[in-house]
Amino acid sequence: MKKLLLLSVFALATAVTYAGGYRVSLQGNKSLAMGHTGVAIVNSSESVFFNPAGLVYLENKLSITGGAFGIFSDVAYQNTETGASAMTDSPLGTPFYLYGSYQATDWLAFGIGVYTPFGSTVEYEDDWAGSHLVNNIDLAAIFVQPTVSIKLSEYFSVGGGPIYVSGSVNFNRNLNRTLTDLDGNRSEVTVDASGVSEWGWTVGAMFRPTEKLTIGAHYRSEIILDAEDGDADFENIPNSPLTPFADTTFDASLPLPAEMTVGLSYQFCDKWLFAFDFNRAFWDVYESLDLDFADENIPDSVNPRNYNNASTYRFGLQYDATDMFTLRAGYYFDESPVAEGFFSPETPRNDSNGYTAGLTVNVSESLQIDASFLYLHFNEVDATYEGYTENGQVAPFGGTYKSSAFAPGLGITYKM
C-alpha cells in the first residue's frame, strides 16, 4: 500500500506552476498540487483567494489554512556569437499565504486572506553581458483581503472584498553598456521604494447545479502601485557635467494586472475530482517601466515592456486515497505575456509547462498537513530585447535563455 501511494504521487505528477511576468501563482498548497486550479473547488479556505464565493459552502464553522513555498528559480543565458554566458544566482523566494473563513450563518461567511501573488527576485552577476538592463531586481507585494461570501440559493453564491496591497521594489542596473569611472568601474543606479500601498478589489461567483458539478468565475482588479519619492542611488559616475547623475528620488508606476478566471470541477467515481481553470491576465497594462527622476538634469529612464494579455490553462486531479491521504496532481500551460522583441532578462519568461503534485495528510479531524510541489519547465528560447537605445538607436540585447523553477510547498489546515 505504501509503495502504491508513492507511485501514485509520481504518476499523477504531471504539471503546472508559475504564471508569466512577475505573477507568482503559488497561493495554496492544495490548489497548487492540482495545477493551481480552484475557482470551482470547495475544500478549504484557500477559496478566499481562488473564489470568495466558495467560502460559504465550506462545511466547518472555522477553517484556517496557511503555508509557504520555497522557489528555486534560475535563468541561464548565453550568446553563441560572443561566447557570453550567465547564470542567475537568485536567492530562495518564499511566497506565503494565510486564509481564514468563518461561517456566520448558513448563507453568510466571512473570510480574510494574506498572500503574495506578485514578486520577482532575479540576481545576475554584476556587470554581466546584460547588466545595462538589469543586475538584480527584487519585487514583492503583500495582499490583504477581507472577504464576504453570500449564498443566494442552494445552487448559487457570490463573494468578494477589498484588497489592500503593500509593495516594494529594489532594482539595480548599469547606466549603459560602457560608462565607467576613471578606474573602469561601471556606472550604475539602484532604485529602491518600499511601503508603496494601494487598494483593489475582487469578486467571484459560484454555481453548483448538481452535487458533483461546480462552476466558478472570479475577477481580481488591476492594481497600479505608484512609487513616489523612492530613492535613486547612482554609483561610479564620472565627474563631468556630461554625466549629471547625482543621487535623487524617483516616481514610477508598476502595474499588477487584473486577472479573470473561469472554471469547473467535477466529482466522479466517488473519490475523484477533476478541475479545470482558465486564467486570463490583463498584462497589456504593462506598457513601459518608466522612472521619473526628481533631479531634472537626469534624463528619465524609459524601459518599454509592451506586454500582451496572457492565458493560462490549468488542469487538476484529486484522489481521496484513504481517510488519511488525499493525493493531487495537475498540469498547466502558462502563456508568456512577453511580446516578441521585448524579452528582458529582468523577467525572462517564455511559455512554460507546469507539473504539480501533492498530498494532504489528515492528521486528525481538525488538522491537515498539505504538501505540494511544482516543476515549471521552460524550453530554451532565442529571444531579444529591443527596448534599449543608445543615442536614439536601438541596441538589441539577445541570446538564448533557459529558465527553470521548482517550488516545494508545505502548509497546515485547521478546521473546527
Binding site: V9, F72, V75, G184, L242, F406
Partner: protein, 506 residues
C-alpha cells in the same frame, strides 16, 4: 505511515534541488563548443608597439591594457581552448611613468566639459602623480610584448631597454631584446604588428625628420625619421622566423594609412578667418615679397617659376589657408640676408608658403593656429604674419614619402604572410573603411571622427577600447578562417570610447 510521509517529502525536496539549474542543449561554456582549430592558442604571444600594448589617450593605463587587442583575442580564445594571457599591467589608471621618481611619460588625456554650459572642451591631461615606477616594475616576459614607441628594428636592438622606459620596465636584462624575450616564452601562436612607428613619428612630427630610404644603418636614424624599407624587410623577416620557430601559426597585421587618423583629419587646413579689410592689409605687407622678392629669386635661378607660384601669399575675405614653413622649399634665408633683409624677416620668409589642400595640419596645431607668436605684438598671428612651424604640417610631399614607405612595408608583410602560410590581417583596408563611411555596429557607426567617432582615443592616434575591439574582431575572423577555428567575436558596442571627467588640472 510517518515514514512514508518522510520518504515522499524527502523525494520531492531532492527532486527540487537536482532539477534546479537550467541547462542548455549546447552550452557555450562546455569544452568543444568553440575551437581554436589548427591554431594552438594555449600560449599566445603578441609582439608589437603601442597598438599591441593597449596604449590609448596618450598613455598606457590598466583599463586601456585590459582592452588591448591581444587581450580581447585571448579572452575570446579562452572560450575555446586558449590559455592564460599575461600583460605588464601598469600600477594605475592615470597612465604616466616614473623613472627613478622622475615623470618620463605623461598621464592619459580625458575630456572635460564646461561646468556652466555642459559643452565638451578640448582634451586635457589627467591630473595626478603616476605610481608606475620603471625600476621596480615586474620584469617579463609577458604574453603581451607590445612596447609603446617601438619601431621595427627596435625589437631586435640589444639594450633597447635603456632607450625606452616602457621596455625598460619589463626587459629581462639590460641587453635583452623585445623579440628574444617574446621568443623565450615559446609561443604556441603569435601576432606581430610592427612598423607603424617607422613612419608614424615622421608623420606626427609634421615631417621634421628625414626619409632614411637608402640608409641601411638604423643606428644612425633620428627618432622622427622614416625607416628604410629594406631595413624593415630584413628585421621583419627575422622576427617572423623567430616567432614561427615553435608556433602552430601566427597572424601578421599590416600598416594602416596614418593620414586617415584624427590626428591629421581634425584640424581643417583652412583655418584663418579674415575680413576683407584685414586680408587687404595683410596682402599689402606681403606685396613686396610677392611682386619683387619672388621674381628676383626666379630671375637669379634660385627657385623655379613653379616654386615661386607656390610661395605666393594671398589672403582673401573668408577662411584662409595659413602661412607655413615647408622644409621642402628652397631655403632662401641667407640669400635674403645677403640682399639686405634683416635676419628675423629673412628667417620668416626663408621657407614660407601658404598651405593648400594637399597639406594636413596636425591635431596639436589647434592650440597654436591664430595665436600670437609674441603676446605683446598683435601682428604676430601664427598662420598669418608668422608661419605655422613645419612640425605642425604634413605636406603633400611628406605624405608621399610616408605613403611610399608604408606601401613597401605592407608588401613585405603580405609577402611574408603568404610565403610562411600565416594569417594576414589587412588593417589598412579596415581603417580605410572606418575613415570612409564608417563601420556599423549595433548602436551606431564607428568612424574616425575625433572625440565622437568612437574609434580613436583622445590622442587622435591610438584606438579606443571600441577601436581595439574592432581590430580584435578582424584578427579573430582571420584566425578562424585560416586555422579552421570558431573563436567567437565580441560586440564592439560593449566597449567604451573616450573618458569624460573634469577632475583635471587645466
Amino acid at each position: 505511515m510517518k515514514k512514508t510521509i518522510y520518504i515522499v517529502l524527502g523525494g520531492l525536496l531532492t527532486l527540487g534541488f537536482v532539477s534546479c539549474e537550467p541547462e542548455f542543449d549546447n552550452p557555450v561554456d562546455e569544452p568543444g563548443f568553440y575551437t581554436t582549430g589548427d591554431a594552438d592558442m594555449s600560449n599566445f604571444v603578441a609582439v608589437g608597439n603601442s597598438l599591441t600594448a593597449g596604449f590609448a589617450d596618450g598613455a598606457l593605463y590598466i583599463t586601456g591594457q585590459e582592452n588591448s587587442y591581444p587581450n580581447i583575442i585571448a579572452q575570446q580564445a579562452a572560450f575555446a581552448d586558449g590559455g592564460e594571457f599575461t600583460q605588464p599591467l601598469m600600477a594605475d589608471n592615470l597612465g604616466g611613468l616614473l623613472l627613478n621618481g622622475e615623470q618620463v611619460a605623461q598621464n592619459r588625456f580625458v575630456l572635460p566639459a564646461d561646468p556652466a554650459t555642459g559643452e565638451p572642451l578640448g582634451p586635457v591631461v589627467l591630473d595626478g602623480t603616476p605610481t608606475t615606477e620603471v625600476t621596480t616594475s615586474e620584469t617579463g616576459p609577458f604574453n603581451n610584448m607590445g612596447v609603446p614607441g617601438a619601431k621595427s628594428f627596435h625589437l631586435v636592438t640589444p639594450g633597447y631597454s635603456t632607450l625606452n622606459p616602457y621596455y625598460g620596465r619589463i626587459a629581462t636584462s639590460s641587453s635583452a631584446t623585445v623579440l628574444a624575450d617574446a621568443v623565450s616564452l615559446n609561443p604556441s601562436f603569435f601576432a606581430l604588428w610592427i612598423g607603424n612607428n617607422d613612419i608614424l613619428s615622421y608623420a606626427t612630427s609634421g615631417g621634421i625628420g628625414v626619409d632614411q630610404t637608402g640608409n641601411l644603418d638604423p643606428s644612425t636614424y633620428g627618432n622622427n625619421d622614416i625607416t628604410d624599407p629594406n631595413v624593415f624587410a630584413s628585421v621583419y623577416n627575422d622576427q617572423v622566423n623567430a616567432l614561427m620557430a615553435g608556433a602552430s601559426g601566427g597572424v601578421l597585421i599590416n600598416i594602416p594609412d596614418v593620414t586617415s587618423i584624427p590626428f591629421f583629419t581634425t584640424v581643417p587646413v583652412q583655418s584663418i578667418p579674415l575680413d576683407a579689410a584685414t586680408a587687404a592689409a595683410v596682402n599689402a605687407q606681403f606685396a613686396l615679397y610677392n611682386n619683387q622678392v619672388l621674381p628676383l629669386l626666379v630671375g637669379a635661378g634660385v627657385i623655379s617659376p613653379e616654386e615661386a607660384a607656390l610661395r605666393e601669399i594671398n589672403f582673401t575675405a573668408g577662411v584662409n589657408f595659413p602661412t607655413i614653413t615647408d622644409d621642402d622649399l628652397t631655403d632662401v634665408t641667407n640669400i635674403l640676408i645677403s640682399q639686405g633683409i634683416d635676419a628675423e624677416t629673412a628667417a620668416l620668409l626663408g621657407q614660407l608658403r601658404q598651405a593648400n589642400n594637399d597639406d594636413l595640419v596636425v591635431l596639436t596645431a589647434s592650440s597654436v593656429l591664430g595665436a600670437l607668436a609674441d603676446p605683446s605684438n598683435p601682428l604676430s598671428v601664427i598662420g598669418v604674419a608668422v608661419p605655422l612651424q613645419d612640425q605642425f604640417v604634413l605636406t603633400g610631399t611628406e605624405q608621399d614619402r610616408v605613403s611610399t614607405a608604408t606601401q613597401a612595408y605592407n608588401t613585405t608583410i603580405v609577402t611574408l604572410a603568404t610565403a610562411n602560410d600565416l594569417a594576414f590581417v589587412d588593417a589598412r583596408s579596415a581603417l580605410a573603411q572606418v575613415a570612409n563611411g564608417g563601420v556599423a555596429y549595433d548602436a551606431g557607426l564607428l568612424t574616425n571622427e575625433f572625440v565622437t567617432g568612437g574609434a580613436f582615443s583622445l590622442d587622435g592616434v591610438h584606438p579606443t577600447p571600441r577601436g581595439y575591439a574592432y581590430t580584435a574582431n578582424l584578427i579573430i575572423e582571420e584566425i578562424n578562417s585560416k586555422y579552421n577555428a570558431t573563436i567567437p567575436t565580441v560586440n564592439i558596442g560593449n566597449y567604451g570610447t573616450i573618458t569624460l571627467t573634469n577632475n583635471v588640472s587645466n
